[in-house]
Symmetry: C2
């Protein structure tokens, strides 16, 4: 009764990047070959557009961006390509409180956590080694073998606080 999500919210996610996207595309190509998959025009276009992204974008919004120049590329392919990029380590899947799946380029960098503004939707990243260490201590105390973790602070960003 419905093919795929109709347009909806989606706060900021910039564009443009200063990366060797070529290197990342190469990594994708290798992964594809190794997995017995095939390189396609669509995957190339979608990956290129995604890797230019700064921030956290939904498959739906990425589809909209891609769709501007490439009317023939469908949402399903964007969706599937993001799954693929996640598997090969070029994208990280994130789900915040609005329950939408977002993707962010995973630039081999270290793990990070997020501040999410409930006013304007801005997503800010941070990294705090002390907290990470303490999380390790907590896990140890419970005999817990941690594989991943998620920490999100929800509230109002500086701009929203000032404009209040």
């Amino acid at each position: 009764m419905q093919g795929r999500p109709k347009g909806r919210k989606s706060p900021l996610q910039g564009s443009s990047a200063s990366h060797s996207i070529s290197g990342e595309k190469e990594r994708l190509r290798l992964f594809i070959k190794k997995a017995g998959l095939k390189s396609t025009r669509q995957r190339d276009i979608i990956a290129t557009e995604f890797l230019k992204t700064i921030g956290h974008i939904t498959a739906e919004d990425l589809y909209k961006k891609v769709n501007r120049k490439h009317k023939e590329i469908g949402f399903t392919t964007v969706y599937r390509t993001m799954k693929l990029l996640s598997k090969c380590g070029l994208a990280s899947e994130r789900v915040f409180a609005d329950n939408l799946t977002r993707y962010e380029p995973a630039r081999g960098e270290e793990h990070h956590d997020h501040l999410i503004c409930i006013g304007c939707g801005e997503i800010t990243e941070f990294e705090n080694p002390k907290i990470e260490r303490l999380q390790g201590e907590v896990a140890k105390e419970f005999g817990f073998n941690t594989i991943s973790h998620k920490m999100e602070l929800y509230g109002y960003c500086r701009r929203c606080v000032e404009n209040a």
Copy 2:
């Protein structure tokens, strides 16, 4: 084409409690009155069953428990009652990585975070003032006014590690 979720997973969530459930039921009664709502047999039954719960339970699973003794009470009412209990502060809504909404009795206690076992589904609670303090520092650094936060560690619980 489908009224509500059919049975699915759902790891542990114990039962039995050592609380003055009567006090919590009184709180619900007051909230209901103050909001111009009505006390009903169903709400009483559902709230009672929920408040006996230890752990984190989905509306679906709570419905199943209630349904054993009260075939006439529908899922929708359980669902709505949990929303009501959340609003009046007797329940906390939690969404972990499996994207199901769970509820846990909110016993006026302090905030806590969770360890979630990806082996057996066990959910363990913890509280770490040092981490909380550091989170405050991070927020401060970004001029961020934190309203709530979420921290979850995913991995294998002691038992699952030992049985591996």
